[in-house]
Amino acid sequence: MNPKLMLDIFKTSLLARRFEARVIQMAMAGELPGSLHAGAGQEVCQIAAITAMNKDDYILYGHRGVAYMIARGTSLTAILADIAGKEGATSRGKGGVMHVVDVPHGILGESGTLGGGFVISVGVGMALKRRYPGRVVTYFFGDGTSNRGTFHESLNWAAVQKLPCIYFCENNGYAVSVPTSTSTAVPDISARAAGYGVPGVVVDGNDAAAVYEVMQKAVERARAGHGPTLIEAKVTRLFGHYIADQQTYRPDAATVIATKDPLPKLQQTLVNAGVLNDTLLAQLEADAQRQIEEAVATVKAAPLLAPETALQDLYA
């Protein structure tokens, strides 16, 4: 894989990681509502997958972090405004960080009930096939979410109608406190592809190049009208399910952070490949910091959404 692209993935992952850390810090300080589900550990995978899509493709996402939106080009200010309930919030105070939406950047939103994205994505696929042939939609979802009935109904439907839908499962081994083995009859979610006659692929989600590659294939297949692919990326949730989660149920929580973080690994790969060095790294960190602080300042200065917006946006 092209080192330039890898460097882009690293850059965006770094920005997402730093931004999230800043949000968590502000939440702990009581400056923001604390409902974030940290994406730390999964950003590289999410961003690598999105990098394999075109700008006019679409995504639906789960609750795990905000790297998806950053990768697609949504401004940090907009995301932060969503979290803070300020003017500029993409969902205008209705959805908070869980329902960031940015149609021009192909971000179609999130279902608060897990697995709602499956059914929405089928409809998006139906519309793309008829109105924008060649475009695709990817739904990112967790291993736990794959046990919803909507997974089954939707993958069957997309497969039989050969819709341009990609199913991207981030298997981090947990649904909140419940390990996948307690809740799920097969170790590999991708094994389920067999029930729908579509390719099922496992990939190491910490390997950006590998993720990019399997995603590229899935996108091509969907664009060509051959229907969905079920991709399963094995990833690690570095932190708790949400900010306050002490992970008492996860004895290895501490070592996970030290050993399973894909970001240093990707950094090393790039250094070895000769496209990253200390100077550039320092510059990327500084860039990230600058963007983040600009967003923080802008949103701090922005007014709260007018309370009456609560009554708006229900009907067109």
């Binding site: 179609l108 089928v122 139906m126 909507t150 939707s154 439907w157 039989v160 946006d313 229900l314 009907y315």
Partner: protein, 323 residues
């Protein structure tokens, strides 16, 4: 004017709107090749092709949820659930996705989706016979139509397809064969405008669909006894034309609601509360609700007959109220 059936009126509305706008698509179980289990969609697949009219898997969650997704992206899907009761089978998608997806995302897109839901009827059993309109009326974000005549079936469906919001459109199974006059040429029926089906001064009755039919029959009998009731057909439950009902009750001083929903928190409850809020000084008789006595609909016809308000029940109830 031509005289057609309620089901033909629905078929015409679909055909005209599909003709007018290529973004209108239609799907559901058995709607395409077979023309629907109630034969409402006959001929549409042949006319508009299998890309726009297609049979779906038995996957109610996707049927409705994909409708939301497709609507967001510029299609105008019309989804047929085989039975209105299946709004619960697709509960998440009807109430949380169709009803809330736009709101939850700050109005980022429109959701021009129509869910056709055949309701009522009998002999089909507890999960195939309900009139679940009160559930929809309570839910934010879902418009709701309850057409009672072929003319309204056509006009309201055409309007529903053109509206940019999700609509649950209840078609009553016992009305499919009802014949009635339908205007010639292009027309739509606006949402939120009740119609007075019969004028009177003794009492206001609010009823729709099969209960309206029974009410009008009872009203004829009552008229022979010298009692003239005013009968209001709300036509849509969201938006709900509160004014027409309140104005009528201010004139008649009394109100009865006849419906096929379960009695507790049926549509009649909203009307009762409304009158108490806005018409108290005008009311001189107790309010009355004829409805299903808070049990599911059984399968056996004679058991159904025992619990669904009949023409006779309506007649007697009015007699008692105005006595």
């Amino acid at each position: 004017m031509s005289v057609i059936t309620y089901s033909k009126a629905i078929n015409q509305a679909l055909a005209e709107e599909m003709e007018r706008d290529e973004n209108v698509i239609l799907y559901g179980q058995d709607v395409a090749v077979w023309g629907g289990i109630f034969k409402v969609t006959e001929g549409l697949r042949d006319r508009f092709g299998p890309e726009r009219v297609f049979d779906s898997p038995i996957s109610e969650n996707v049927m409705v949820g994909a409708g939301v997704g497709a609507a967001m992206m510029g299609l105008r899907p019309v989804v047929e659930l085989q039975f209105a009761d299946f709004i619960f089978t697709a509960g998440d998608e009807v109430f949380l996705k169709a009803g809330m997806w736009r709101f939850m995302h700050g109005g980022a897109y429109k959701v021009p989706l129509v869910i056709r839901a055949p309701s009522g009827g009998s002999g089909f059993g507890p999960e195939h016979s309900a009139c679940p309109e009160a559930f929809i009326m309570h839910a934010p974000g879902l418009l709701c139509a309850v057409p009672s005549t072929p003319a309204d079936a056509k006009g309201l469906l055409k309007e529903a397809i053109r509206l940019d919001n999700p609509v649950v459109y209840f078609e009553h199974k016992l009305l499919y064969a009802m014949r009635g006059e339908v205007p010639d040429g292009e027309y739509t029926t606006p949402f939120g405008k009740a119609v007075v089906r019969r004028e009177g001064d003794a009492l206001t009755i609010v009823a729709w669909q099969d209960m309206l039919r029974r009410t009008l029959a009872a009203a004829n009998r009552l008229s022979k006894d010298g009692i003239e009731v005013e009968v209001i057909d709300p036509r849509t439950l969201n938006p709900f034309d509160r004014e027409t009902i309140i104005e009528s009750v201010k004139k008649t001083g009394a109100c009865m609601v006849v419906e096929e929903a379960y009695r507790t928190l049926g549509v009649g409850a909203e009307i009762g509360a409304l009158l108490l809020e806005h018409a108290l000084p005008y009311l001189d008789k107790p309010f009355k609700r004829l409805a299903i006595p808070d049990v599911p609909l059984p399968t056996s016809q004679h058991l159904v007959n025992f619990i669904v308000p009949s023409e006779e029940d309506i007649y007697k109830a009015v007699k008692e109220l105005v006595a």
